[in-house]
């Protein structure tokens, strides 16, 4: 009950005329950038971060929440009309939604995506408001060694579950950890990997790293494959709205998608890919019209879209309560919150109570504004997809460099961005995923702090790292996560002999 009152206070902070204006602006900008092909939600938020930093914290939070939802929705629009998913969680939407669009049902696909995201976002934010403070309270008891175990678990899960190859996921993670090492050590001030460069001693900015890998790397990769594989935007014919039949077929998938997406966001196991796939196969097996799946079934858009959005809100629970981001988008969120002087973690609700509840209220408001703004504006967003490719990439490159420069007004950051952008190109070329890298950069330094604290408590005795119930439990789970496929295989082999 107390939390409900705090949430209501959050709403009254968020709902001023001025903040609503910022919210609308955020929704508009978020969708605008998110709808551009090649820009996924993570990059959209990273690019727009400088914009939100120039206004006062409460307004910035609501603007940021609006950008978050706008970017997610913009991404699904592009997936449906262009079949170019901006992130792993939108792959299913791209496949099934694009098929619907080809049949001339783009309007219904876009609307079920918008309404599904709204329903899932609202329910998931409510669950977030209930779960995060509880988890934070439990987390107060977690010792540094427990944190070390949690971070190692998140690393292993994200590194090995994403992408096609475990080794390549771990490569990405190790590069991220190395980038995180650059600069002066937090405790002794000794410079690691900074080559005597003055600017490098402050470390590399996470946002610069993200912009380099997602924007510059993407443009370079597209340039390397520049041959005329021009895309074609599918027209939105007929009415934009869904009919009664579409509704009847959509509302259950929305709810089921939410139920699948949210809990899977809580586990630091990385990515919205798995929940959207599960939601898709659940809808397919429950559907009476199975033959439509793969040919443009509305359930196949409604369920995964809801799962994707609910998952994004679920990921915020470990982010807020433990300070542990498990997706690229959450990692940027963490950077942004630190910039607003909000330090996610177990103490968050005690230290920054009012601001956090304002953030949660802002998520509700942002989600609602998105629905109000975007359903009437769908046709305008579609126009954006008609931008010729060469101008689009020119815009992404120039805007990416702008984002890298404005953080510190430093040419050094631009040089870093170009070098890391080239590595980002190599990652794409050789099938190395980006997300583990982002987590390595942001959680590497946190891991070192917790690692040090643990060993200080034990006076250098390394056995503290697996002392106690929680670390043991986490390492066991980690072992199962990594070796379960091998164990299952071995058991099957034996039972056959």
């Amino acid at each position: 009950m107390e939390n409900l009152n705090l949430l209501l206070d959050g709403f009254s902070n968020a709902l001023t005329a001025q903040n609503l204006m910022y919210g609308l602006l955020g929704t508009f900008l978020g969708t605008l950038v998110g709808v551009l092909p090649g820009i996924g939600p993570a990059l959209a938020i990273a690019l727009l971060l400088p914009v939100t930093l120039s206004v006062e914290p409460t307004s910035a939070l609501i603007m940021f929440a609006a950008v978050f939802y706008g970017a997610m929705y913009g991404g699904s629009t592009t997936s449906i009309l262009l079949n170019t998913p901006g992130e792993a969680g939108a792959v299913i939407t791209a496949v099934e939604g694009h098929k619907m669009a080809k049949k001339g049902r783009a309007g219904a696909a876009l609307t079920t995506a918008a309404l599904g995201s709204f329903v899932a976002g609202s329910i998931a934010t409510m669950l977030l408001a209930a779960a995060a403070p509880t988890l934070a309270e439990l987390a107060l008891k977690v010792q540094p060694a427990g944190y070390v175990a949690l971070i190692v678990f998140a690393f292993a899960a994200v590194g090995t579950l994403l992408g096609s190859s475990r080794t390549r996921g771990l490569i990405s993670l190790s590069v991220g950890l190395i980038i995180g090492l650059v600069g002066a050590d937090q405790q002794t001030g000794i410079n690691r990997l900074s080559f005597g460069i003055q600017e490098a001693t402050d470390g590399l900015e996470v946002i610069v790293v993200i912009i380099s890998f997602f924007a510059i790397g993407e443009v370079l990769y597209l340039a390397s494959r520049f041959k005329d594989d021009a895309w074609r935007v599918l027209p939105v014919k007929g009415k934009v709205w869904m009919d009664r039949e579409d509704f009847r077929r959509s509302w259950k998938p929305w709810l089921r998608g939410t139920a699948i997406g949210f809990p899977m966001g809580l586990i630091p196991a990385g990515g919205s890919e798995v929940p959207t796939f599960i939601s898709y196969s659940v809808e397919k097996s429950l559907s009476k019209n199975k033959e439509e799946f793969g040919e443009g079934a509305i359930e196949g858009v409604a369920g995964p879209e809801a799962a994707n959005n609910a998952n994004a809100a679920g990921v915020l629970v470990p982010l807020l309560a433990l300070g542990l981001p498990t997706s690229a988008t959450a990692a940027i969120m963490l950077v942004a919150l630190r910039n607003f002087n909000i330090q996610p973690g177990p103490m968050l609700f005690e230290m920054n109570g009012p601001l956090v509840w304002t953030l949660i209220a802002s998520l509700f408001v942002g989600n609602t504004l998105l629905l109000l703004l975007n359903l009437p504006l769908i046709r305008i967003w579609i126009q954006l997809l008609q931008i010729p490719r060469h101008y689009l990439y020119a815009g992404i490159a120039t805007f990416g460099l702008l984002g890298a420069y404005t953080l510190n007004n430093s040419v050094f950051d631009l040089r870093v961005a170009l070098i890391l952008g080239f590595i980002g190109y190599l990652f794409r070329r050789f099938g190395v995923p980006n997300t583990p890298l982002v987590l390595g950069v942001i959680l590497g330094p946190t891991l070192e702090i917790q690692f040090r604290q643990a060993l200080q408590l034990s006076n250098g005795d390394y056995s503290i790292l697996y002392a106690g119930l929680l670390p043991k439990f986490i390492y066991l789970a980690l072992f199962l996560l990594i070796f379960a496929p091998n164990i299952v295989k071995a058991v099957k082999k034996r039972s056959k002999v």
């Binding site: 400088p50 190790s174 190395i178 690691r192 370079l220 340039a223 060469h390 120039t398």
Partner: protein, 172 residues
């Protein structure tokens, strides 16, 4: 079985690069100046751990590549042959970004951004000089105006900023 193609050589070089990166981090940790005061854990320890991790993973990748398991480039299917990169287009894009880095502070934001935008759109095949350069200029001016005037985020002033009378007043 495996033919040694350009793509295979590229894979091997890529994998080797990570092994070397890991070894380099270990070397950096080894040569780090000895800190005078620290409590229990030296800054070297963590760098050794990460360097060791990177070296091991780099070694694993080399092993994987030597067994013929290659990376799947984004937007392609496993097994699909990868075309050699379009070096010309890439060079123009990289060159345009380098211009940005060199010009942004001496020549001002608008000049640098106009050239970068134009260069990248040229690289991606646009050949309408007047239209492209005009669009690039408008893009740069709008961005400059929104960021510098609207959001009060600093962007360097230069030739065009002074010409258009947009530059902030310099003090002293």
């Amino acid at each position: 079985m495996t033919k040694v193609t350009r793509a295979v050589v590229a894979e091997a070089v890529f994998a080797l690069g990570f092994l070397l990166l890991g070894l380099f981090v270990l070397y950096d940790a080894f040569t780090l100046e000895e800190p005078g005061v620290y409590s229990v854990v030296s800054p070297k320890t963590f760098e050794y751990i990460i360097g060791g991790f990177a070296t091991v993973v780099g070694g694993l990748l080399i092993l994987e590549v030597s067994r013929g398991k290659y990376g799947v480039a984004e937007g392609t299917e496993p097994g699909q042959e990868f075309l050699p990169p379009d070096v010309k287009t890439m060079s123009i894009v990289i060159g345009s970004m380098l211009l940005h880095i060199f010009l942004i502070e001496p020549a001002g934001y608008i000049a640098a951004a106009t050239l970068t935008f134009y260069g990248v759109s040229f690289a991606f095949g646009s050949r309408k000089f007047i239209k492209d350069i005009a669009l690039a200029f408008i893009f740069a001016v709008v961005v400059y105006f929104v960021f510098s005037k609207g959001l009060r985020i600093f962007l360097p002033d230069g030739f065009f900023e002074n010409l258009l009378g947009l530059a902030r007043e310099t003090q002293g």
